[in-house]
C-alpha cells in the first residue's frame, strides 16, 4: 500500500478540532508572573532617562528593568547570514542610548497579573530627545547612532553578485529596457501572536521555555549564551503554533527577557504579545525598491541585466543578517538564462520596525521586479509577454543549471526543471489564445479585464542537515523524534506518510515529536521550505534502517532470510504467505537490547529549486478603482508530492497572503516615523471575501536528484508570483502597459494611474 502521494487527512488535527490546542497563551503555571514591555513612542531619539518610580510603587508590580539593570546581556546575534561588519547594528533586548523605532522595547515590567503589568507600563515615562528619523531607504545613508558609534552609517552592507560580460551585452543590445519598481512594507501576520512562558525549576536550577517555534534548538543555544547558562540548564518546548511564515519563532528581545526574568526572579514568567505590539515589534518584511536595466535583442532575449536594489531593513539587523537581500540578489534572474548579470543589493537601515524574512523572502519582491521587466520588454518590442518568457527560459537540457554564484552560502544550482513544458501546460490549461480573444471582446464592450502571468523559481530544502530517531514499541506504535518544528503546516502527517511508506504501518500508529530540545540533541527547525526535504529524507533513511533490522530479526525468528520477507499492515510476512509476525513482536524480542529503532541523518549542501507560474485574470471597476480577481491559477512543480492536499493548502494559503501584499497590506508611516497601520483597522488582511478560488496545477515533472524522495519544498510557491501576476493583469485590464510599478495596488494608487494618464 502506498502512503506517499496520497491526500491523507492530517493526523495532527484532532486536538485542534476538539478545542484542545496548546498554543503559547494556553500554557500556564501556578504562581506565574506576567511581563509587559514598555515601548518607545518615538521613531528616533536619544534616551535621556527612563522614570520608573511611579510604576514601581503600584501594588502588584514585582520588578521593572531597563537596560541599566540588564547591562550584562549582549545584543541578539545573527542566526544565519551574519557578517562581521553587521555586528554593531544588532539589537539589544532593551534600548541602549538611543531608540530607533516606534515599538522598540525600552523597559520591562513584571507583575502579578497582566492588567497590573499594563497599568504599570503606562506609568513608565521615557524621556527621549527626539531626532529627525530616516524613513527612505533610497536616500543617502545617515549616522546610525551619532556619537555612540561615530562614523557608523545606515548602510551596513551591499550584497553584490555577478557573472558574464555585462558591457559586451549592452554594447550589442538592440534595446535597453529600464524599470523602477517598489514593493511595499508588509509581513506575515500569524493568527497567533508571539508569546512564551518560562518556568524555573528550583530543584534542578533549570529553565524551560514554552511557546517556542520555528528554530527551538538554535534559540535554546542562543538564549543560553546570552544568559550565561551552561548546556542543559535551558530547554525549549514547542506546543501548537498558530502560523509561522518566517517571522514567528525567530529570536526576539521578548524571548530573552522572559527567560531572564524567570531566572532572576526564580518564578514562572509569562508574556503574551498583543496585536498592536505584534504589528510594531515582530519582524516586518519586503519593502524594496528595484532599479533594473536590461540589454535585450530583437526577440526580447535578455543579453544582460544590471540591477540595483534597496532593502529597507528597519532599525536594526536582526537574526536573519543579510538573508533577504542575499536571496533577492540570488533569485532575481529566476527561470531565465540571462548570460550576464550584475547586482548590488543595498541593505539600508531606517527608523521603522526591523525587518526579517516573510514567506518567499526576496522572491515575492524580485519576482515582481523581474516579471514586470519581462512585461516591459514585451511592450517595448511589441512582442507577446508569453513569447518573451519563452525565449528567455532555461532549457531542460541545461539542467542542472549552475548560476555561477552562491546564495545563503550554497551554490545556486537549479537541480532540475522543465520550465518551457510548464509554461505550455499553463497556456493549455487556460486555453490561452481563446481566453485572450474573449478578454479582448469584453474590453471592446467597455469592460476593463485582463490577464497577467508571473513565472518564478523557488528555493527550498536548506541544509545543513537533520536527524531523526525512530522507535517501534511492543504494541507496534512508532515514535519519530525530529529536531524540526511545526508551524501548523502538516509536518506530522507528511513525515508519518514517508515513514508509513517504508514500514507499511497504518499512519495512525505513528507519532511525530518535534520542537522539543530535550528529546533530540540537534535540530534545524522549520524555515526555507526545508522540513519535508530534510527531515522527510532523514525519516526515510531512519525507516529503512529500522526496516532492515526488523527484517533481519524476523528472518531469524521465522527461520528464513530477509529477502523472503515483506512488510504489510504492521506485520512482517513471508512472501509466500506461510508465516507472519507483528512488527511489535520483533520490538519485544529486541526490548532488552535497546528495542527496534532506526536513526537517519540527512545532510545537504545544496538547495532544491521548485518552480511555477501564477496566472491571474482581473476586472477593474474604473469608477471605484476596485479590482476583482475573476480567476487565479497556480502551477507548481514540487518534484514529488508527499501529500497533494497539504500542498494545495499551502498554495492556496500562499495566494491569500500574496493577494494581501498585492492589494491590501502595508505598513505606512507618517513623516515623524509614527506607524499609521498599527491595528487591524488599518493594516488590512485579506479575508475570505477578497481571496479568490485558486486552481492548482500540481506537477511532479522534475523530481529533485538531491534527495532520496525527489521532493522539493512546497511552502512558498503559492505566494511568490502573486504580486507579479496581479500587476500584469491590471496593466492588461486598463490597457496601460507598465502602469503598475508599486505594490500594494491600492484603490488610491490605481485611481492616480487611471486619472493621471500614466
Amino acid at each position: 500500500m502506498s502512503f506517499v502521494g496520497r491526500s491523507l487527512r492530517r493526523i495532527e488535527d484532532r486536538p485542534l478540532l476538539m478545542g484542545q490546542g496548546a498554543f503559547a497563551a494556553d500554557c500556564n503555571w501556578p504562581g506565574q508572573l506576567h511581563m509587559r514591555v514598555v515601548r518607545s513612542p518615538v521613531a528616533f531619539g536619544r534616551i535621556l532617562g527612563v522614570e520608573t518610580e511611579e510604576a514601581t510603587a503600584l501594588e502588584g508590580v514585582v520588578a521593572i528593568w531597563t537596560i541599566a539593570e540588564l547591562d550584562d546581556l549582549p545584543p541578539i546575534d545573527f542566526r544565519q547570514m551574519g557578517l562581521e561588519r553587521l555586528a554593531p547594528y544588532r539589537q539589544f533586548v532593551l534600548a541602549r542610548d538611543y531608540v530607533r523605532y516606534v515599538g522598540e522595547p525600552v523597559a520591562v515590567v513584571v507583575a502579578v497579573d497582566p492588567y497590573i503589568a499594563e497599568d504599570a507600563a503606562d506609568l513608565v515615562f521615557c524621556d527621549i530627545e527626539e531626532l529627525e528619523p530616516q524613513l527612505d531607504a533610497t536616500a543617502e545613508p545617515v549616522a546610525f547612532m551619532p556619537d555612540v558609534h561615530p562614523g557608523l552609517m545606515s548602510e551596513p552592507a551591499v550584497i553584490r553578485r555577478g557573472y558574464g560580460d555585462l558591457d559586451a551585452a549592452f554594447a550589442c543590445a538592440r534595446r535597453v529596457v529600464e524599470l523602477e519598481v517598489k514593493i511595499g512594507r508588509h509581513t506575515g501576520v500569524p493568527m497567533e501572536t508571539r508569546g512564551g512562558l518560562c518556568v524555573y525549576d528550583t530543584e534542578k536550577d533549570t529553565l524551560r521555555l514554552y511557546g517556542a517555534a520555528k528554530v527551538p534548538h538554535y534559540n535554546r543555544d542562543a538564549i543560553s549564551r546570552m544568559l550565561g547558562l551552561a548546556p542543559g540548564r535551558l530547554e525549549l518546548s514547542e506546543g501548537h503554533v498558530g502560523g509561522g511564515f518566517g517571522i514567528r519563532g525567530e529570536l526576539y528581545p521578548e524571548d530573552v527577557l522572559v527567560c531572564a526574568a524567570a531566572l532572576r526572579l526564580k518564578r514562572p514568567v509569562k508574556w503574551i504579545e498583543d496585536r498592536r505590539e505584534h504589528l510594531l515589534a515582530a519582524n516586518h518584511s519586503r519593502d524594496q525598491v528595484y532599479r533594473l536595466k536590461a540589454a535585450v535583442d530583437s526577440r526580447g532575449f535578455i543579453l544582460g541585466l544590471k540591477a540595483d536594489f534597496f532593502t529597507d531593513q528597519g532599525a536594526y539587523v536582526r537574526t536573519h543578517g543579510t538573508t533577504v537581500t542575499d536571496l533577492s540578489a540570488g533569485l532575481l534572474p529566476g527561470p531565465y538564462v540571462i548570460p550576464a548579470y550584475d547586482v548590488a543589493g543595498h541593505i539600508r537601515l531606517t527608523n521603522k520596525t526591523p525587518a526579517g524574512t516573510y514567506r518567499a523572502p526576496g522572491r515575492y519582491e524580485s519576482t515582481f521586479a523581474r516579471e514586470r521587466l519581462i512585461d516591459a520588454i514585451a511592450i517595448e518590442l511589441g512582442l507577446s509577454p508569453v513569447e518573451v518568457r519563452r525565449v528567455n527560459l532555461i532549457g531542460e537540457a541545461a539542467m542542472p543549471f549552475d548560476r555561477g554564484f552562491e546564495t545563503l552560502g550554497t551554490r545556486v544550482v537549479y537541480d532540475s526543471g522543465k520550465y518551457a513544458d510548464l509554461l505550455e501546460r499553463v497556456l493549455a490549461h487556460l486555453d490561452y489564445d481563446r481566453l485572450q480573444q474573449q478578454l479582448t471582446e469584453r474590453r471592446s464592450r467597455g469592460e476593463l479585464v485582463g490577464l497577467g502571468l508571473g513565472y518564478f523559481v523557488e528555493k527550498s530544502g536548506l541544509g545543513p542537515q537533520d536527524l531523526v530517531r525512530m522507535r517501534l514499541d511492543m504494541r507496534g506504535d512508532i515514535e519519530i523524534v525530529t529536531g524540526v518544528a511545526s508551524v501548523g503546516q502538516g509536518v506530522e502527517t507528511a513525515l508519518a506518510q514517508i515513514c508509513a511508506e517504508t514500514l507499511q504501518v497504518p499512519i495512525e500508529r505513528i507519532r511525530v515529536i518535534h520542537g522539543q530540545t530535550d528529546r533530540i540533541e540537534i535540530g534545524f527547525g522549520a524555515f526555507a521550505s526545508r522540513v519535508t526535504v530534510m527531515a522527510g529524507s532523514a525519516v526515510k533513511i531512519a525507516a529503512e534502517a529500522l526496516r532492515a533490522t526488523a527484517l533481519e530479526v524476523a528472518a531469524r525468528l521465522l527461520q528464513t532470510t530477509p529477502q523472503a520477507l515483506r512488510l504489510s499492515n504492521g506485520m512482517i510476512e513471508t512472501v509466500n504467505g506461510s508465516a507472519s509476525l507483528p512488527l511489535g513482536d520483533v520490538a519485544a524480542h529486541l526490548e532488552e537490547t535497546g528495542g527496534l529503532t532506526g536513526e537517519g541523518r540527512f545532510a545537504s549542501s545544496h538547495m532544491t529549486y521548485p518552480y511555477g507560474i501564477h496566472a491571474a485574470q482581473v476586472r477593474v471597476d474604473p469608477a471605484t478603482c476596485a479590482v476583482t480577481i475573476e480567476r487565479y491559477v497556480v502551477a507548481y512543480d514540487v518534484g514529488r508530492a508527499v501529500n497533494p492536499m497539504l500542498i494545495e493548502g499551502q498554495i492556496v494559503g500562499g495566494v491569500a497572503q500574496g493577494v494581501g501584499g498585492a492589494f491590501l497590506e502595508e505598513f505606512v508611516y507618517d513623516e515623524n516615523g509614527q506607524p499609521l497601520a498599527a491595528s487591524f483597522a488599518d493594516y488590512l488582511m485579506p479575508t475570505c471575501h477578497e481571496v479568490p478560488e485558486v486552481e492548482v496545477l500540481l506537477r511532479e515533472d522534475a523530481p529533485s536528484p538531491l534527495n532520496p524522495l525527489g521532493v522539493k519544498g512546497a511552502g512558498e510557491g503559492g505566494i511568490n508570483a502573486a504580486g507579479a501576476a496581479l500587476a500584469g493583469a491590471i496593466d492588461a485590464a486598463i490597457q496601460k502597459p507598465g502602469a503598475v510599478a508599486q505594490l500594494p495596488i491600492t484603490p488610491g494608487r490605481l485611481h492616480a494611474i487611471l486619472r493621471g494618464g500614466r
Binding site: 503606562d122 498592536r276 488599518d682 471575501h689 484603490p747
Partner: protein
C-alpha cells in the same frame, strides 16, 4: 490591550440608569453592544471610570412602526434589520444597508443607537439617519427631548447628546410604496468602514419625482445631506432620460464635498468615489 480598570454598573430600570448618568456624567459610558467602545477601551483610547450596562432595560428594547414612523429602541441590534422590519421601501433599504455594517458577529451585538451615539463619520446608520431626516429621542433625569438629525451630529465622534442623556429611541419616517430607494457603498474590504457611500430615495408620482432624499458618507466629519441636489431632482421625470440627470447630479455631488485624505484614500479619489456612489445609488433607485 487590556482595558484600564473601571466600575461596572447594571441598572434594572431606565429611571435607575438615568439617575446614574446624572450622577456620573462624563465619568461614565453607556454599554449596549460594545462593538466600538470595548475595542477602544482595550486600546486604552477610552478610559471610562464607570460602564453603565443598559442591556437589562426592556424599556429600550423595541422596534415598531407607529404613527408613520419606525421607532428603533436603543437596544435594537444591527442584525434586527437583516430582514425588512417594515413593509415597503424603508424596510428594503435598511435590509440592504445593514449588510455593509462590519461582519455578522458584530451585527449580532452592535446597536443602531450605539452607532449614532458613537457618530463615526463612516457609519452607515448615521448616513441613513441624516439623509432620511430621523428624529432622535434623548432622555435624561431632566426629561425628554427630540433632536432633529440635522442638529444631532456635531462632528467626528461628537453629538448633541449631553453627558447625562441617553439616546433612547430613533424615529425614521416610514416611506409610502411610491418611494424608490438606492444605496451604494465602497470599502477596501467587505465589512470595512466606507471610503465613500450614498443613500438615495425618491417619491415618484405620475412618472415625476415629487420628493427626494440624497446623502453621502465616509467623507468629512459627518454624513452630508445634499439638499441642493434633492431640490434639483424634484420635478424631474423618472423616465429613461433620468440617466442624464443622474450623471449631472453625480458630477455636482463631487464638487459639494471637501473630503480629507488618509492612508486609505486621497481627497481626489474620495471625490470621484462619491460621484460614483451617488450615481449608483440614484441609478438603483430610479433607473
Amino acid at each position: 490591550m487590556k482595558a484600564a480598570a473601571f466600575d461596572y454598573l447594571r441598572p434594572a430600570s431606565l429611571g435607575e440608569a438615568l439617575a446614574l448618568l446624572a450622577t456620573h456624567k462624563d465619568d461614565c459610558k453607556i454599554l449596549a453592544g460594545g462593538q466600538s467602545l470595548v475595542p477602544a477601551m482595550n486600546f486604552r483610547l477610552a478610559r471610562p471610570a464607570i460602564l453603565i450596562d443598559i442591556n437589562d432595560l426592556d424599556e429600550l428594547d423595541h422596534l415598531r412602526a407607529d404613527a408613520g414612523q419606525l421607532k428603533i429602541g436603543a437596544l435594537t441590534r444591527h442584525a434586527a434589520f437583516h430582514r425588512p422590519v417594515v413593509e415597503g421601501p424603508l424596510g428594503t433599504l435598511l435590509a440592504k444597508v445593514v449588510r455593509h455594517i462590519a461582519h455578522y458577529p458584530i451585527r449580532q451585538r452592535g446597536t443602531f443607537a450605539g452607532s449614532l451615539s458613537h457618530a463615526d463619520p463612516a457609519s452607515e446608520w448615521c448616513l441613513v439617519a441624516t439623509t432620511l431626516r430621523a428624529e432622535m429621542v434623548a432622555k435624561s433625569a431632566r426629561g425628554e427631548r427630540v433632536i432633529a438629525a440635522s442638529d444631532f451630529f456635531h462632528g467626528t465622534f461628537t453629538t448633541a447628546l449631553e453627558p447625562d442623556e441617553i439616546l433612547a429611541e430613533i424615529r425614521l419616517p416610514i416611506m409610502t410604496p411610491d418611494w424608490r430607494v438606492g444605496f451604494y457603498e465602497f470599502s477596501r474590504r467587505a465589512g470595512d468602514f466606507a471610503l465613500g457611500m450614498a443613500v438615495a430615495a425618491a417619491k415618484v408620482e405620475d412618472g415625476t419625482i415629487r420628493e427626494a432624499r440624497l446623502g453621502v458618507g465616509g467623507v468629512g466629519d459627518r454624513a452630508i445631506r445634499l439638499g441642493a441636489l434633492e431640490d434639483q431632482l424634484v420635478g424631474t421625470p423618472a423616465s429613461s432620460d433620468v440617466i442624464d440627470s443622474i450623471d449631472r447630479i453625480a458630477r455636482e455631488a463631487r464638487g459639494m464635498i471637501e473630503p480629507s485624505g488618509d492612508i486609505h484614500a486621497s481627497p481626489e479619489y474620495r471625490r470621484d468615489l462619491i460621484a460614483a456612489s451617488v450615481k449608483r445609488a440614484l441609478t438603483e433607485a430610479l433607473a
